[in-house]
Protein backbone atom coordinates (compact mmCIF):
# COMPACT_ATOMS: atom_id res chain seq x y z
CA UNK A 1 0.00 0.00 0.00
CA UNK A 2 1.45 3.40 -0.96
CA UNK A 3 2.13 5.86 1.86
CA UNK A 4 0.72 8.71 -0.21
CA UNK A 5 -2.10 8.04 -2.63
CA UNK A 6 -3.53 11.01 -4.53
CA UNK A 7 -6.62 10.30 -6.61
CA UNK A 8 -7.65 13.02 -9.09
CA UNK A 9 -6.86 15.79 -6.62
CA UNK A 10 -7.93 19.24 -7.71
CA UNK A 11 -7.69 22.61 -6.02
CA UNK A 12 -9.05 25.98 -6.91
CA UNK A 13 -9.11 29.14 -4.87
CA UNK A 14 -12.26 31.20 -4.63
CA UNK A 15 -12.07 34.39 -6.69
CA UNK A 16 -14.28 37.29 -7.64
CA UNK A 17 -17.62 36.31 -9.14
CA UNK A 18 -17.02 37.46 -12.71
CA UNK A 19 -13.48 36.06 -12.96
CA UNK A 20 -12.89 32.54 -14.25
CA UNK A 21 -11.85 30.23 -11.40
CA UNK A 22 -8.16 29.37 -11.80
CA UNK A 23 -7.50 25.66 -11.47
CA UNK A 24 -4.31 25.44 -9.39
CA UNK A 25 -4.25 21.65 -9.37
CA UNK A 26 -6.15 19.82 -12.06
CA UNK A 27 -6.82 16.18 -11.26
CA UNK A 28 -3.46 15.00 -9.99
CA UNK A 29 -3.14 11.26 -9.49
CA UNK A 30 0.06 10.15 -7.82
CA UNK A 31 1.36 7.39 -5.57
CA UNK A 32 4.40 7.65 -3.31
CA UNK A 33 5.63 4.53 -1.53
CA UNK A 34 7.11 4.27 1.94
CA UNK A 35 10.86 5.01 1.82
CA UNK A 36 10.89 7.02 -1.39
CA UNK A 37 12.87 10.24 -1.86
CA UNK A 38 10.88 12.41 -4.23
CA UNK A 39 11.66 15.83 -5.65
CA UNK A 40 8.82 17.91 -7.05
CA UNK A 41 9.89 20.56 -9.54
CA UNK A 42 8.11 23.12 -11.60
CA UNK A 43 8.09 26.81 -12.49
CA UNK A 44 6.60 29.26 -10.01
CA UNK A 45 2.82 29.23 -10.12
CA UNK A 46 2.78 25.64 -11.31
CA UNK A 47 0.99 24.48 -8.13
CA UNK A 48 3.84 22.62 -6.51
CA UNK A 49 3.56 24.44 -3.19
CA UNK A 50 -0.20 23.93 -3.17
CA UNK A 51 0.40 20.23 -3.74
CA UNK A 52 2.82 20.18 -0.81
CA UNK A 53 0.28 21.85 1.46
CA UNK A 54 -2.32 19.26 0.49
CA UNK A 55 0.06 16.37 1.09
CA UNK A 56 0.99 17.95 4.43
CA UNK A 57 -2.68 18.17 5.49
CA UNK A 58 -2.28 21.93 5.94
CA UNK A 59 -4.95 22.51 3.33
CA UNK A 60 -7.87 20.51 1.95
CA UNK A 61 -8.43 19.74 -1.74
CA UNK A 62 -11.45 21.01 -3.69
CA UNK A 63 -11.98 17.63 -5.29
CA UNK A 64 -10.59 14.10 -5.35
CA UNK A 65 -9.34 11.85 -2.60
CA UNK A 66 -6.13 11.68 -0.63
CA UNK A 67 -5.20 8.57 1.32
CA UNK A 68 -2.31 8.95 3.73
CA UNK A 69 -1.08 5.62 5.02
CA UNK A 70 -4.34 4.04 3.83
CA UNK A 71 -6.58 6.58 5.54
CA UNK A 72 -8.76 9.01 3.62
CA UNK A 73 -7.75 12.35 5.11
CA UNK A 74 -9.93 14.49 2.83
CA UNK A 75 -12.91 13.95 5.12
CA UNK A 76 -11.17 14.67 8.42
CA UNK A 77 -11.99 17.51 10.80
CA UNK A 78 -9.35 20.22 11.47
CA UNK A 79 -8.44 18.73 14.86
CA UNK A 80 -8.06 15.25 13.37
CA UNK A 81 -5.79 16.71 10.69
CA UNK A 82 -3.75 18.36 13.47
CA UNK A 83 -3.24 14.93 14.99
CA UNK A 84 -2.19 13.46 11.62
CA UNK A 85 0.34 16.26 11.15
CA UNK A 86 1.60 15.77 14.67
CA UNK A 87 2.06 12.01 14.45
CA UNK A 88 2.91 11.29 10.82
CA UNK A 89 4.45 14.33 9.14
CA UNK A 90 7.50 16.49 9.75
CA UNK A 91 7.78 19.87 8.03
CA UNK A 92 10.84 21.75 6.85
CA UNK A 93 10.16 25.17 5.33
CA UNK A 94 12.18 27.56 3.21
CA UNK A 95 11.93 30.30 5.88
CA UNK A 96 12.74 27.83 8.71
CA UNK A 97 9.60 28.87 10.64
CA UNK A 98 11.10 28.65 14.08
CA UNK A 99 9.63 30.48 17.07
CA UNK A 100 12.07 33.31 17.68
CA UNK A 101 11.55 33.80 21.40
CA UNK A 102 12.19 30.26 22.58
CA UNK A 103 15.41 28.25 22.61
CA UNK A 104 16.44 25.73 19.96
CA UNK A 105 15.62 22.96 22.42
CA UNK A 106 12.07 24.21 23.02
CA UNK A 107 11.56 24.70 19.28
CA UNK A 108 12.51 21.11 18.63
CA UNK A 109 10.29 19.92 21.48
CA UNK A 110 7.26 21.84 20.21
CA UNK A 111 5.54 18.91 18.40
CA UNK A 112 5.88 16.82 21.58
CA UNK A 113 4.11 19.57 23.53
CA UNK A 114 1.00 18.77 21.49
CA UNK A 115 1.21 15.02 21.99
CA UNK A 116 1.07 15.11 25.79
CA UNK A 117 4.65 14.16 26.47
CA UNK A 118 6.17 15.13 29.80
CA UNK A 119 8.56 18.05 29.97
CA UNK A 120 11.58 15.95 30.93
CA UNK A 121 11.03 13.49 28.08
CA UNK A 122 10.40 16.37 25.71
CA UNK A 123 13.73 17.88 26.64
CA UNK A 124 15.72 14.67 26.40
CA UNK A 125 14.23 13.71 23.04
CA UNK A 126 14.71 17.22 21.65
CA UNK A 127 18.33 17.26 22.85
CA UNK A 128 18.94 13.91 21.15
CA UNK A 129 17.55 15.26 17.87
CA UNK A 130 19.74 18.36 18.05
CA UNK A 131 22.72 16.08 18.65
CA UNK A 132 21.74 14.06 15.58
CA UNK A 133 21.66 17.15 13.37
CA UNK A 134 25.01 18.32 14.72
CA UNK A 135 23.75 21.11 16.98
CA UNK A 136 24.55 19.59 20.37
CA UNK A 137 26.29 22.79 21.43
CA UNK A 138 23.40 25.10 20.54
CA UNK A 139 20.70 23.64 22.76
CA UNK A 140 19.97 26.87 24.61
CA UNK A 141 20.59 29.31 21.76
CA UNK A 142 17.77 31.44 20.41
CA UNK A 143 17.11 30.98 16.64
CA UNK A 144 17.90 34.66 16.02
CA UNK A 145 21.49 34.12 17.06
CA UNK A 146 22.05 31.20 14.67
CA UNK A 147 23.10 31.08 11.03
CA UNK A 148 20.63 30.04 8.32
CA UNK A 149 22.14 26.58 8.08
CA UNK A 150 21.93 26.10 11.82
CA UNK A 151 18.34 27.27 11.90
CA UNK A 152 17.43 24.81 9.18
CA UNK A 153 19.08 22.02 11.18
CA UNK A 154 16.92 23.01 14.16
CA UNK A 155 13.90 22.83 11.87
CA UNK A 156 14.94 19.37 10.69
CA UNK A 157 15.42 18.24 14.27
CA UNK A 158 11.91 19.51 15.00
CA UNK A 159 10.54 17.63 11.99
CA UNK A 160 12.18 14.44 13.23
CA UNK A 161 11.40 14.61 16.94
CA UNK A 162 8.05 12.82 16.81
CA UNK A 163 9.47 10.04 14.59
CA UNK A 164 7.34 10.81 11.52
CA UNK A 165 7.10 8.51 8.52
CA UNK A 166 7.08 11.42 6.11
CA UNK A 167 9.13 14.58 5.87
CA UNK A 168 7.91 17.38 3.65
CA UNK A 169 10.52 19.94 2.70
CA UNK A 170 9.35 23.03 0.82
CA UNK A 171 12.39 24.66 -0.77
CA UNK A 172 14.53 23.79 2.28
CA UNK A 173 17.67 25.27 0.74
CA UNK A 174 16.06 28.35 -0.79
CA UNK A 175 17.61 30.70 1.78
CA UNK A 176 20.99 28.96 2.06
CA UNK A 177 24.30 29.20 0.24
CA UNK A 178 25.38 26.27 -1.91
CA UNK A 179 27.80 24.81 0.63
CA UNK A 180 25.23 24.83 3.43
CA UNK A 181 22.61 23.56 0.99
CA UNK A 182 24.73 20.48 0.32
CA UNK A 183 25.12 19.83 4.04
CA UNK A 184 21.35 20.04 4.56
CA UNK A 185 20.66 17.78 1.58
CA UNK A 186 23.19 15.27 2.91
CA UNK A 187 21.18 15.08 6.12
CA UNK A 188 17.99 14.35 4.16
CA UNK A 189 19.72 11.73 2.04
CA UNK A 190 21.12 10.08 5.14
CA UNK A 191 17.74 10.02 6.90
CA UNK A 192 16.17 8.45 3.84
CA UNK A 193 18.95 5.93 3.37
CA UNK A 194 19.48 4.87 6.98
CA UNK A 195 16.06 5.28 8.59
CA UNK A 196 13.83 4.76 5.57
CA UNK A 197 11.92 8.00 6.17
CA UNK A 198 9.92 9.06 3.15
CA UNK A 199 11.02 12.47 1.92
CA UNK A 200 9.13 14.73 -0.44
CA UNK A 201 11.01 17.81 -1.51
CA UNK A 202 9.93 20.85 -3.48
CA UNK A 203 12.69 22.74 -5.25
CA UNK A 204 13.42 24.60 -8.41
CA UNK A 205 17.15 23.92 -8.36
CA UNK A 206 18.35 20.96 -10.44
CA UNK A 207 21.37 20.50 -8.15
CA UNK A 208 19.09 19.93 -5.21
CA UNK A 209 16.60 17.76 -7.09
CA UNK A 210 19.47 15.48 -8.03
CA UNK A 211 19.62 14.16 -4.46
CA UNK A 212 16.19 12.57 -4.89
CA UNK A 213 15.61 9.15 -6.43
CA UNK A 214 12.43 10.18 -8.18
CA UNK A 215 11.63 13.39 -9.97
CA UNK A 216 8.14 14.73 -10.61
CA UNK A 217 7.65 17.82 -12.78
CA UNK A 218 4.47 19.87 -12.53
CA UNK A 219 3.30 22.53 -14.98
CA UNK A 220 -0.02 24.34 -14.68
CA UNK A 221 -1.41 21.90 -12.16
CA UNK A 222 -0.59 18.78 -14.20
CA UNK A 223 2.10 16.16 -13.75
CA UNK A 224 4.15 16.39 -16.93
CA UNK A 225 7.07 14.16 -15.97
CA UNK A 226 7.53 11.39 -13.39
CA UNK A 227 10.80 9.50 -13.55
CA UNK A 228 13.20 7.54 -11.40
CA UNK A 229 16.70 8.95 -11.46
CA UNK A 230 20.05 7.51 -10.59
CA UNK A 231 21.58 9.21 -7.62
CA UNK A 232 24.60 11.02 -8.90
CA UNK A 233 26.02 11.95 -5.53
Amino acid sequence: MPLIQLDRISKQYPSAADQPVPQVLDGITLNIEQGEFVAIMGPSGSGKSTLMNLIGCLDTPSGGHYHLDGRDVTTLEPDELALVRNQTIGFVFQGFNLLKRISALDNVGLPLLYSNISKSERRSRAAAMLELTGLGRYVHSLPNRMSGGQQQRVAIARALVNQPRLILADEPTGNLDSHTSREIMDIFAKLNREQGITIVLVTHENDIARYAKRLIRIVDGHVVQDQTQVNTE
Binding site: N53, L58, D59, D79, A82, L83, N116
Partner: protein
Protein backbone atom coordinates in the same frame (compact mmCIF):
# COMPACT_ATOMS: atom_id res chain seq x y z
CA UNK B 1 -1.22 19.42 25.68
CA UNK B 2 -1.46 19.71 29.42
CA UNK B 3 -2.62 22.78 31.28
CA UNK B 4 0.69 23.40 33.01
CA UNK B 5 2.53 23.68 29.69
CA UNK B 6 -0.14 26.04 28.35
CA UNK B 7 0.19 28.21 31.44
CA UNK B 8 3.96 28.23 30.96
CA UNK B 9 3.58 29.17 27.28
CA UNK B 10 1.14 31.96 28.13
CA UNK B 11 3.39 33.22 30.89
CA UNK B 12 6.45 33.38 28.68
CA UNK B 13 4.45 35.12 25.94
CA UNK B 14 3.39 37.75 28.47
CA UNK B 15 7.02 38.46 29.28
CA UNK B 16 7.79 39.08 25.60
CA UNK B 17 6.45 42.58 25.48
CA UNK B 18 6.69 43.75 29.04
CA UNK B 19 5.70 47.36 28.46
CA UNK B 20 2.59 46.41 26.54
CA UNK B 21 1.61 43.73 29.03
CA UNK B 22 2.24 46.18 31.86
CA UNK B 23 0.09 48.92 30.33
CA UNK B 24 -2.72 46.51 29.59
CA UNK B 25 -2.48 45.22 33.11
CA UNK B 26 -2.62 48.80 34.42
CA UNK B 27 -6.11 49.09 32.98
CA UNK B 28 -7.14 46.07 35.01
CA UNK B 29 -5.30 47.28 38.11
CA UNK B 30 -7.13 50.61 38.05
CA UNK B 31 -10.45 48.96 37.29
CA UNK B 32 -10.27 46.37 40.04
CA UNK B 33 -8.73 48.86 42.46
CA UNK B 34 -11.61 51.25 41.84
CA UNK B 35 -14.14 48.47 42.40
CA UNK B 36 -12.52 47.52 45.71
CA UNK B 37 -12.41 51.13 46.97
CA UNK B 38 -15.94 51.93 45.84
CA UNK B 39 -17.37 48.76 47.35
CA UNK B 40 -15.46 49.60 50.54
CA UNK B 41 -16.86 53.13 50.72
CA UNK B 42 -20.38 51.89 49.98
CA UNK B 43 -20.14 49.18 52.60
CA UNK B 44 -18.71 51.65 55.09
CA UNK B 45 -21.60 54.06 54.56
CA UNK B 46 -24.09 51.24 55.04
CA UNK B 47 -22.43 50.14 58.24
CA UNK B 48 -22.42 53.68 59.61
CA UNK B 49 -26.11 54.13 58.87
CA UNK B 50 -27.02 50.72 60.21
CA UNK B 51 -25.23 51.53 63.44
CA UNK B 52 -27.14 54.80 63.80
CA UNK B 53 -30.38 52.95 63.16
CA UNK B 54 -29.52 50.31 65.71
CA UNK B 55 -28.63 52.97 68.27
CA UNK B 56 -32.13 54.37 67.92
CA UNK B 57 -33.57 51.03 69.00
CA UNK B 58 -35.31 48.57 66.72
CA UNK B 59 -38.98 48.06 65.80
CA UNK B 60 -39.96 51.32 67.42
CA UNK B 61 -43.20 53.29 67.48
CA UNK B 62 -43.46 56.73 68.86
CA UNK B 63 -46.91 57.64 70.15
CA UNK B 64 -47.46 61.41 70.27
CA UNK B 65 -50.38 63.14 71.87
CA UNK B 66 -52.79 64.91 69.56
CA UNK B 67 -52.96 68.52 68.50
CA UNK B 68 -54.45 71.17 70.72
CA UNK B 69 -56.19 74.29 69.58
CA UNK B 70 -55.49 77.42 71.53
CA UNK B 71 -57.20 80.65 70.59
CA UNK B 72 -57.73 79.47 67.02
CA UNK B 73 -54.09 78.38 66.65
CA UNK B 74 -53.55 74.68 66.10
CA UNK B 75 -50.43 73.76 68.03
CA UNK B 76 -49.35 70.57 66.22
CA UNK B 77 -48.74 67.03 67.39
CA UNK B 78 -47.77 66.57 71.00
CA UNK B 79 -49.27 69.82 72.21
CA UNK B 80 -52.50 68.41 73.66
CA UNK B 81 -51.95 66.68 77.01
CA UNK B 82 -53.76 63.42 76.31
CA UNK B 83 -51.11 60.76 77.07
CA UNK B 84 -50.37 59.60 80.58
CA UNK B 85 -47.81 57.38 82.21
CA UNK B 86 -50.60 54.85 82.77
CA UNK B 87 -51.18 54.75 79.00
CA UNK B 88 -47.57 53.67 78.70
CA UNK B 89 -48.06 50.86 81.18
CA UNK B 90 -51.19 49.72 79.39
CA UNK B 91 -49.40 49.64 76.03
CA UNK B 92 -46.54 47.61 77.50
CA UNK B 93 -49.03 44.83 78.26
CA UNK B 94 -50.23 44.42 74.66
CA UNK B 95 -49.62 41.04 72.93
CA UNK B 96 -47.38 42.26 70.16
CA UNK B 97 -45.51 44.80 72.27
CA UNK B 98 -42.22 43.98 73.92
CA UNK B 99 -41.81 47.06 76.07
CA UNK B 100 -42.98 50.65 76.33
CA UNK B 101 -41.89 53.71 78.17
CA UNK B 102 -43.54 57.10 78.62
CA UNK B 103 -41.17 59.99 78.05
CA UNK B 104 -41.28 63.48 79.49
CA UNK B 105 -38.25 65.45 78.36
CA UNK B 106 -36.96 68.78 79.49
CA UNK B 107 -33.75 70.75 79.40
CA UNK B 108 -32.43 71.46 82.88
CA UNK B 109 -29.23 72.64 84.53
CA UNK B 110 -27.19 70.00 86.36
CA UNK B 111 -24.42 70.88 88.78
CA UNK B 112 -21.76 69.08 90.76
CA UNK B 113 -19.36 71.09 92.89
CA UNK B 114 -18.12 73.94 90.76
CA UNK B 115 -19.19 72.32 87.46
CA UNK B 116 -22.55 72.75 85.83
CA UNK B 117 -24.00 71.57 82.55
CA UNK B 118 -27.31 71.96 80.78
CA UNK B 119 -28.69 68.79 79.27
CA UNK B 120 -31.80 67.13 77.95
CA UNK B 121 -33.22 65.15 80.86
CA UNK B 122 -35.74 62.42 80.18
CA UNK B 123 -38.24 61.32 82.78
CA UNK B 124 -38.90 57.71 81.80
CA UNK B 125 -39.83 54.27 83.09
CA UNK B 126 -37.12 51.63 83.71
CA UNK B 127 -38.06 49.98 80.41
CA UNK B 128 -36.75 52.97 78.49
CA UNK B 129 -33.33 51.30 78.24
CA UNK B 130 -34.93 48.12 76.86
CA UNK B 131 -36.82 50.06 74.25
CA UNK B 132 -33.80 52.08 73.21
CA UNK B 133 -31.61 48.98 73.24
CA UNK B 134 -29.29 50.77 75.62
CA UNK B 135 -27.43 49.59 78.74
CA UNK B 136 -25.87 50.78 81.96
CA UNK B 137 -22.09 50.60 81.98
CA UNK B 138 -21.50 50.97 85.70
CA UNK B 139 -23.86 51.28 88.65
CA UNK B 140 -27.46 50.37 87.83
CA UNK B 141 -30.68 51.55 86.28
CA UNK B 142 -33.55 52.66 88.49
CA UNK B 143 -36.41 50.19 89.09
CA UNK B 144 -40.16 50.30 89.61
CA UNK B 145 -39.53 50.89 93.33
CA UNK B 146 -37.87 54.21 92.58
CA UNK B 147 -40.68 55.07 90.17
CA UNK B 148 -43.31 54.32 92.78
CA UNK B 149 -41.49 56.38 95.38
CA UNK B 150 -40.65 59.21 92.94
CA UNK B 151 -37.11 59.01 94.31
CA UNK B 152 -34.52 61.60 93.31
CA UNK B 153 -32.12 59.36 91.43
CA UNK B 154 -30.46 59.93 88.03
CA UNK B 155 -28.65 57.86 85.41
CA UNK B 156 -26.14 59.91 83.40
CA UNK B 157 -24.99 59.74 79.79
CA UNK B 158 -21.24 59.73 79.09
CA UNK B 159 -21.03 63.33 77.88
CA UNK B 160 -22.85 64.68 80.91
CA UNK B 161 -20.68 62.65 83.28
CA UNK B 162 -17.54 63.94 81.59
CA UNK B 163 -18.63 67.55 81.87
CA UNK B 164 -19.66 67.32 85.50
CA UNK B 165 -17.12 64.87 86.87
CA UNK B 166 -14.16 64.82 84.48
CA UNK B 167 -12.22 61.65 85.25
CA UNK B 168 -13.99 61.08 88.56
CA UNK B 169 -16.41 58.14 88.94
CA UNK B 170 -19.91 59.67 89.13
CA UNK B 171 -21.74 56.62 90.53
CA UNK B 172 -22.81 57.17 94.14
CA UNK B 173 -22.19 60.93 94.03
CA UNK B 174 -24.93 63.47 94.50
CA UNK B 175 -25.58 66.17 91.92
CA UNK B 176 -28.03 69.04 91.97
CA UNK B 177 -30.79 69.43 89.43
CA UNK B 178 -32.67 72.72 89.68
CA UNK B 179 -31.32 73.04 93.20
CA UNK B 180 -32.53 69.66 94.50
CA UNK B 181 -30.10 66.85 95.28
CA UNK B 182 -30.21 63.75 93.06
CA UNK B 183 -28.13 60.63 93.60
CA UNK B 184 -26.27 59.32 90.55
CA UNK B 185 -26.94 55.57 90.50
CA UNK B 186 -25.75 54.62 87.01
CA UNK B 187 -23.66 55.57 84.02
CA UNK B 188 -24.87 54.73 80.50
CA UNK B 189 -22.73 53.11 77.81
CA UNK B 190 -21.40 55.12 74.86
CA UNK B 191 -24.01 55.68 72.19
CA UNK B 192 -22.59 58.20 69.72
CA UNK B 193 -24.54 60.27 67.26
CA UNK B 194 -28.17 59.80 66.37
CA UNK B 195 -29.34 59.82 62.74
CA UNK B 196 -29.93 63.57 62.89
CA UNK B 197 -26.51 64.24 64.37
CA UNK B 198 -27.43 64.80 68.00
CA UNK B 199 -25.06 63.54 70.70
CA UNK B 200 -27.12 60.84 72.38
CA UNK B 201 -24.70 60.64 75.27
CA UNK B 202 -25.58 64.21 76.24
CA UNK B 203 -28.64 63.18 78.27
CA UNK B 204 -29.76 62.10 81.73
CA UNK B 205 -32.56 59.76 82.82
CA UNK B 206 -34.78 60.10 85.90
CA UNK B 207 -37.84 58.09 86.99
CA UNK B 208 -41.03 59.25 85.25
CA UNK B 209 -42.81 59.98 88.51
CA UNK B 210 -39.92 62.06 89.80
CA UNK B 211 -40.02 64.11 86.62
CA UNK B 212 -43.78 64.56 86.68
CA UNK B 213 -44.12 65.42 90.34
CA UNK B 214 -40.84 67.01 91.33
CA UNK B 215 -38.76 68.25 88.42
CA UNK B 216 -40.97 69.42 85.58
CA UNK B 217 -44.25 69.94 87.41
CA UNK B 218 -46.11 71.74 84.70
CA UNK B 219 -49.52 72.65 83.50
CA UNK B 220 -51.01 69.18 83.12
CA UNK B 221 -49.99 66.88 85.96
CA UNK B 222 -49.78 63.20 85.07
CA UNK B 223 -49.28 63.68 81.33
CA UNK B 224 -46.25 62.77 79.27
CA UNK B 225 -44.92 64.13 75.99
CA UNK B 226 -44.76 60.85 74.12
CA UNK B 227 -44.58 57.09 74.61
CA UNK B 228 -41.92 54.93 72.99
CA UNK B 229 -43.20 51.46 72.15
CA UNK B 230 -41.12 48.54 70.94
CA UNK B 231 -42.88 45.79 68.99
CA UNK B 232 -41.88 42.17 69.60
CA UNK B 233 -40.48 41.81 66.07
CA UNK B 234 -40.41 43.52 62.71
CA UNK B 235 -43.09 41.09 61.48
CA UNK B 236 -45.71 42.13 64.06
CA UNK B 237 -45.25 45.88 63.48
CA UNK B 238 -48.62 46.25 61.67
CA UNK B 239 -50.51 44.32 64.38
CA UNK B 240 -48.76 46.31 67.08
CA UNK B 241 -49.81 49.59 65.48
CA UNK B 242 -53.42 48.41 65.38
CA UNK B 243 -53.39 47.23 68.99
CA UNK B 244 -51.84 50.48 70.19
CA UNK B 245 -54.47 52.55 68.39
CA UNK B 246 -57.32 50.38 69.72
CA UNK B 247 -56.04 50.39 73.27
CA UNK B 248 -55.58 54.15 73.35
CA UNK B 249 -59.01 54.80 71.82
CA UNK B 250 -60.59 52.68 74.54
CA UNK B 251 -58.54 54.29 77.29
CA UNK B 252 -59.31 57.78 76.04
CA UNK B 253 -63.01 56.88 75.67
CA UNK B 254 -63.24 58.04 72.06
CA UNK B 255 -66.54 57.36 70.32
CA UNK B 256 -66.78 56.02 66.76
CA UNK B 257 -67.00 59.39 65.09
CA UNK B 258 -64.24 61.06 67.09
CA UNK B 259 -60.76 61.29 65.60
CA UNK B 260 -57.69 59.93 67.37
CA UNK B 261 -56.31 62.35 69.94
CA UNK B 262 -52.83 60.87 69.39
CA UNK B 263 -50.54 59.88 66.53
CA UNK B 264 -48.70 56.58 66.14
CA UNK B 265 -45.53 56.94 64.08
CA UNK B 266 -43.45 54.05 62.81
CA UNK B 267 -39.75 54.79 63.25
CA UNK B 268 -38.71 51.66 61.35
CA UNK B 269 -39.96 53.30 58.17
CA UNK B 270 -37.56 56.19 58.72
CA UNK B 271 -34.72 53.74 59.26
CA UNK B 272 -35.74 51.86 56.14
CA UNK B 273 -35.48 55.02 54.05
CA UNK B 274 -32.00 55.74 55.33
CA UNK B 275 -30.87 52.17 54.68
CA UNK B 276 -32.33 52.22 51.18
CA UNK B 277 -30.54 55.43 50.25
CA UNK B 278 -27.26 54.03 51.57
CA UNK B 279 -27.78 50.95 49.44
CA UNK B 280 -28.54 53.06 46.39
CA UNK B 281 -25.35 55.01 46.95
CA UNK B 282 -23.16 51.93 47.23
CA UNK B 283 -24.82 50.49 44.14
CA UNK B 284 -24.08 53.66 42.21
CA UNK B 285 -20.45 53.69 43.35
CA UNK B 286 -20.12 50.07 42.27
CA UNK B 287 -21.61 50.89 38.87
CA UNK B 288 -19.14 53.73 38.33
CA UNK B 289 -16.22 51.48 39.27
CA UNK B 290 -17.52 48.75 36.95
CA UNK B 291 -17.22 51.14 34.03
CA UNK B 292 -13.49 51.50 34.59
CA UNK B 293 -13.26 47.72 34.81
CA UNK B 294 -15.11 47.47 31.51
CA UNK B 295 -12.71 49.92 29.89
CA UNK B 296 -9.81 47.84 31.20
CA UNK B 297 -11.41 44.75 29.69
CA UNK B 298 -11.75 46.43 26.31
CA UNK B 299 -8.06 47.32 26.51
CA UNK B 300 -7.26 43.67 27.02
CA UNK B 301 -9.37 42.62 24.09
CA UNK B 302 -7.69 45.22 21.91
CA UNK B 303 -4.20 44.10 22.84
CA UNK B 304 -5.07 40.44 22.45
CA UNK B 305 -6.39 41.10 18.94
CA UNK B 306 -3.15 42.89 18.05
CA UNK B 307 -1.20 40.04 19.56
CA UNK B 308 -3.10 37.43 17.57
CA UNK B 309 -2.46 39.32 14.34
CA UNK B 310 1.21 39.78 15.16
CA UNK B 311 1.63 36.14 16.01
CA UNK B 312 -0.32 34.70 13.08
CA UNK B 313 2.79 32.96 11.77
CA UNK B 314 3.53 31.50 15.19
CA UNK B 315 -0.01 30.16 15.28
CA UNK B 316 0.57 28.65 11.83
CA UNK B 317 3.78 26.98 12.97
CA UNK B 318 2.11 25.58 16.07
CA UNK B 319 -0.76 24.24 13.99
CA UNK B 320 1.63 22.70 11.47
CA UNK B 321 3.38 20.70 14.18
CA UNK B 322 0.08 19.48 15.60
CA UNK B 323 -1.63 22.09 17.78
CA UNK B 324 -5.38 21.60 17.77
CA UNK B 325 -7.79 24.54 17.74
CA UNK B 326 -8.43 23.96 21.43
CA UNK B 327 -4.72 24.28 22.23
CA UNK B 328 -4.48 27.63 20.47
CA UNK B 329 -7.72 28.85 22.02
CA UNK B 330 -6.56 27.94 25.50
CA UNK B 331 -3.16 29.51 24.99
CA UNK B 332 -4.56 32.91 24.08
CA UNK B 333 -7.44 32.74 26.54
CA UNK B 334 -5.04 31.92 29.35
CA UNK B 335 -2.83 34.79 28.33
CA UNK B 336 -5.74 37.24 28.63
CA UNK B 337 -6.84 35.57 31.84
CA UNK B 338 -3.42 35.83 33.36
CA UNK B 339 -3.16 39.54 32.58
CA UNK B 340 -6.55 39.94 34.29
CA UNK B 341 -5.76 37.84 37.33
CA UNK B 342 -2.32 39.29 37.93
CA UNK B 343 -3.70 42.80 37.31
CA UNK B 344 -6.69 41.99 39.49
CA UNK B 345 -4.55 40.82 42.38
CA UNK B 346 -2.37 43.92 42.22
CA UNK B 347 -5.54 46.00 41.89
CA UNK B 348 -7.01 44.45 45.02
CA UNK B 349 -3.81 45.23 46.89
CA UNK B 350 -3.80 48.83 45.70
CA UNK B 351 -7.53 49.13 46.34
CA UNK B 352 -7.17 47.96 49.93
CA UNK B 353 -4.29 50.40 50.39
CA UNK B 354 -6.28 53.26 48.85
CA UNK B 355 -9.29 52.42 51.01
CA UNK B 356 -7.14 52.51 54.12
CA UNK B 357 -5.64 55.83 53.04
CA UNK B 358 -9.09 57.28 52.29
CA UNK B 359 -10.47 56.35 55.68
CA UNK B 360 -7.30 57.57 57.37
CA UNK B 361 -7.33 60.95 55.65
CA UNK B 362 -11.06 61.72 55.45
CA UNK B 363 -12.21 59.91 58.58
CA UNK B 364 -14.84 58.16 56.47
CA UNK B 365 -15.71 54.60 57.40
CA UNK B 366 -14.34 52.39 54.62
CA UNK B 367 -15.02 48.73 55.10
CA UNK B 368 -13.35 46.10 52.91
CA UNK B 369 -15.03 42.73 53.29
CA UNK B 370 -13.71 39.39 52.08
CA UNK B 371 -16.83 39.23 49.98
CA UNK B 372 -15.82 42.41 48.17
CA UNK B 373 -12.30 41.09 47.56
CA UNK B 374 -13.64 37.77 46.34
CA UNK B 375 -16.09 39.55 44.10
CA UNK B 376 -13.36 41.76 42.60
CA UNK B 377 -11.25 38.70 41.91
CA UNK B 378 -14.20 36.97 40.31
CA UNK B 379 -14.86 40.12 38.26
CA UNK B 380 -11.34 40.17 36.86
CA UNK B 381 -11.66 36.47 36.03
CA UNK B 382 -14.93 37.13 34.22
CA UNK B 383 -13.43 40.09 32.33
CA UNK B 384 -10.52 37.87 31.24
CA UNK B 385 -12.79 35.15 29.93
CA UNK B 386 -15.26 37.55 28.36
CA UNK B 387 -12.76 39.81 26.60
CA UNK B 388 -10.15 37.14 25.96
CA UNK B 389 -12.49 34.68 24.30
CA UNK B 390 -13.10 36.51 21.05
CA UNK B 391 -9.41 37.10 20.16
CA UNK B 392 -8.56 33.54 21.22
CA UNK B 393 -11.38 32.21 19.12
CA UNK B 394 -10.07 34.20 16.19
CA UNK B 395 -6.60 32.72 16.65
CA UNK B 396 -7.96 29.19 16.89
CA UNK B 397 -10.08 29.47 13.77
CA UNK B 398 -7.16 30.47 11.53
CA UNK B 399 -6.44 28.00 8.74
CA UNK B 400 -2.92 26.59 9.06
CA UNK B 401 -1.96 27.16 5.44
CA UNK B 402 -2.98 30.81 5.56
CA UNK B 403 -1.43 31.43 8.96
CA UNK B 404 1.88 30.01 7.70
CA UNK B 405 1.82 32.22 4.63
CA UNK B 406 1.22 35.37 6.72
CA UNK B 407 4.06 37.90 6.54
Amino acid sequence: MNLLSIIYEAWSAMGQNKLRTGLTMLGMIIGVGAVVVMLGIGQGARTTINESIKSMGSNLFIVLSGASTSGGLRMGSGSAPTLTADDGEALAKLDSVNAASPVLPGTVQLSYGANNWSTLTYAVSPNYLVVRDWAVESGQNFTDTEVRGATRVVVLGKTVAKNLFGEEDPVGKTIRIKGSPYQVIGLLTNRGQSLDGRDQDDSALIPISTGQRKLFGGQFPGTVRYILVQAKSAQVMPEAEQEITQMLRIRHRLSEEQENDFTVRNLAAVAQTAATSAQAMSFMLGAIASISLLVGGIGIMNIMLVSVTERTREIGIRMAVGARRRDILLQFLLEALMICLVGGTIGIGIGVGAAWLTSDMSGMTVEITFGAIGMSFLFSFAVGVFFGYYPARRAASLRPVEALRYE
